[in-house]
Subunit: 135 residues, 2 copies
Amino acid sequence: MKKLEETISALKYNEAGLIPAVIVDADDKGVLMMAWMNAESLRMTIETGRTHFWSRSRGKFWMKGESSGHTQEVKAVYTDCDADTLVIEVLQHGAACHKGYRSCFYRRLGADGNWEVIAEKVFDPEAVYKEKKKP
Amino acid sequence: MKKLEETISALKYNEAGLIPAVIVDADDKGVLMMAWMNAESLRMTIETGRTHFWSRSRGKFWMKGESSGHTQEVKAVYTDCDADTLVIEVLQHGAACHKGYRSCFYRRLGADGNWEVIAEKVFDPEAVYKEKKKP
């Protein structure tokens, strides 16, 4: 669709052609994870209805859940006033975090200056990822 | 506090010394905005209990609400599995967006490929910002 192409192109990407995407849970609105997209991975996300990202460390596209089966069904895509950040509301299958937690943000800063784990694991990462790699 | 200093230093900042901070509403958990912090602005945020950011375009610190009075009281700070992103839960006074909306993410992608405004303005930006500048 021509209009969608224009809308995707008009977003503000950084010098590496990337835009941060904050993934939020459509159920409880909690932030699940943050990852980077380029125009092509955003297009794939919209077309397939499954989140796709660009891995800066691996230099390749990845679909969330491609290893773990923990895919994210896209419910809505939002942008901000500057059009340089996305919020994507998803139905999370399984869990978002490769460490086994539902959300990647499972640690809260405590009064003593340490990170405190405030969530419980919902899956065993070793059982889900046979190879040691990020989902 | 020594431990807090270590915790702040141990976060993963990008090549410019910055880390993205997703600001969420402590009331309804919605994402209000995304902005960048360096170690010093995170320290200021924790010490003062008010969000402080680093403006990449202006090359300076700014406290959210310094122009508008729309400050953010910090309720909790979270980090993710990679320790390269922050989520900060805040009590938002007024509104987060300099365009007059409570959240900066006031536009949703429609089926026709256009952004649709899905929120109502809660203040008049022209009345609040005498000079034309970002809060």
